[in-house]
């Protein structure tokens, strides 16, 4: 079956015949290995992508069922020439150890900040609850989001009260 999806803004049709996951298609057929393959049961979050704006584990998306969808992977959020603010912040706090979980945290974190630019520490923890870091580097990861969640100088003048 030919499946048409948009990945990071580009049309990326692919051919699939079985129940393969979107994760395996992204990595194997579309040359996008940024999305990581670990537990394959939705427990670890390393394969997190956005699917039509929803945060999902790409291992639990049947690729053929994504026909017509828009997918954003970590490759669509930033690259070496222009890092995403979440990537900048994680660099700054040293939030990367082995790096395997990092793409999932970047996608889930970017999704959170799009909807809630100044999350509280509890909101950060809840939003990242589906992402596991086996190096247990959670301290540095949550500190990255504390940096990002701080109100920016320009925000004070445009508060909700006005």
């Amino acid at each position: 079956m030919i499946v048409r999806i948009t990945v990071n803004g580009d049309d990326r049709p692919f051919d699939v015949s079985g129940p393969d996951s979107l994760l395996s298609v992204l990595r194997r057929d579309l040359g996008l290995p940024g999305t990581k393959d670990a537990c394959e049961q939705g427990e670890c979050g390393s394969c997190t992508v956005e699917l039509d704006g929803a945060l999902v584990c790409s291992c639990l998306v049947m690729a053929v069922d994504a026909d017509g969808c828009e997918v954003t992977t970590v490759e669509g959020l930033g690259d070496e020439d222009g890092l995403h603010p979440v990537q900048e912040a994680m660099l700054e706090t040293g939030a990367v150890q082995c790096g395997f979980c990092t793409p999932g945290f970047v996608v889930a974190g970017a999704h959170l900040l799009d909807r809630n630019p100044h999350p509280t520490p509890l909101e950060v923890k809840e939003a990242l609850a589906g992402n596991v870091c086996r190096c247990t580097g959670y301290g540095a990861i949550t500190r990255a989001f504390e940096l990002l969640a701080e109100p920016h100088p320009g925000d004070a003048q445009t508060g909700e009260e006005s």
Partner: protein
């Protein structure tokens, strides 16, 4: 593999009428685990996530395709509380209450609420049309339901007399991303208290002896609450497995029921 992306309920019922073995795919949070880890290769799959008839939700009818993320905003307090404890944001964005019902895991977090609400499961097929099945006739065993192979779960039908005073809690090994060791819903209405539990029997259950004890008492006193916890602990039928022991589940059932009765006490 044959694949149909159903646009409406007719599409889905047509596929199931022709091929009762076709796997239903909504959020994929159960089916794809089978595909990935058990190397399940369904011959036929029908995706129902675009079926508009399954999407609606109001106070008396919850479409089978309604996600946990949507249910986090449910006016039914204990259902919203349960929704918030399901999986992670990635699971709640796609996982549906219909999937929870169809999978019928003893640990399904939505099921104690359905039992406490005395809700029914609405199913449909090409051959028999719509059937409304009371929850206690729908769930018949561990991951076993009375759903016929050609049927599709379309909604939860919620009675009009569901008490407003209701609480959910669950016990698990951590806060996030956890499968329930014990889950409990207590409701307090004009007809008295209702107590439902999950993960402590093959199906969700009502603690009817404990309900009778509470509803025959004049006052909810401390000694009565102690007795209530004992009765609930004896009434449940848990097993020992990799997640917990029978003894712990009995104890935790009593603790949770007691705690939620206290929270719903006037």
């Amino acid at each position: 593999m044959e694949f149909v992306a159903a646009r409406d309920l007719d599409d889905a019922l047509d596929v199931k009428a022709d091929e009762p073995d076709a796997a239903l795919l909504a959020g994929g949070t159960d089916l794809m685990v089978d595909v990935n880890l058990a190397h399940h290769r369904p011959a036929s799959v029908v995706s129902i996530r675009r079926v508009r008839e399954l999407a609606g939700v109001d106070e008396h009818r919850i479409g089978a395709g309604v996600t946990w993320e949507q249910l986090e905003g449910s006016p039914h307090r204990a259902l919203a509380q349960a929704a918030r404890t399901v999986g992670s944001p990635q699971i709640r964005s796609v996982g549906t209450i219909g999937g929870n019902i169809g999978t019928a895991s003893p640990a399904g977090d939505g099921l104690p609420w359905i039992a406490a609400a005395d809700a029914s499961i609405v199913v449909a097929s090409r051959k028999r049309g719509e059937r409304v099945v009371p929850w206690n006739e729908f769930f018949v065993g561990v991951k076993e339901t009375s759903l016929e192979p050609d049927e599709v779960i379309i909604a939860v039908q919620v009675p009009g007399d569901v008490p407003e005073s209701q609480e959910f809690a669950k016990v698990g090994v951590r806060n996030a991303m956890v499968i329930s060791t014990v889950s409990c819903v207590v409701m307090r209405g004009d007809d008295g208290y209702r107590i439902a539990l999950g993960s402590v029997a093959p199906t969700p259950i009502r603690a009817t002896q404990a309900e009778a004890l509470l509803n025959s008492a004049r006052d909810i006193t401390e000694p009565l609450l102690d007795e209530l916890a004992d009765v609930v602990s004896r009434e449940v039928r848990p097993i020992t497995d990799h997640r917990s022991t029978e003894a712990y589940r009995r104890h935790a059932s009593g603790v949770l029921a007691r705690r939620l009765v206290e929270r719903t006490r006037p």
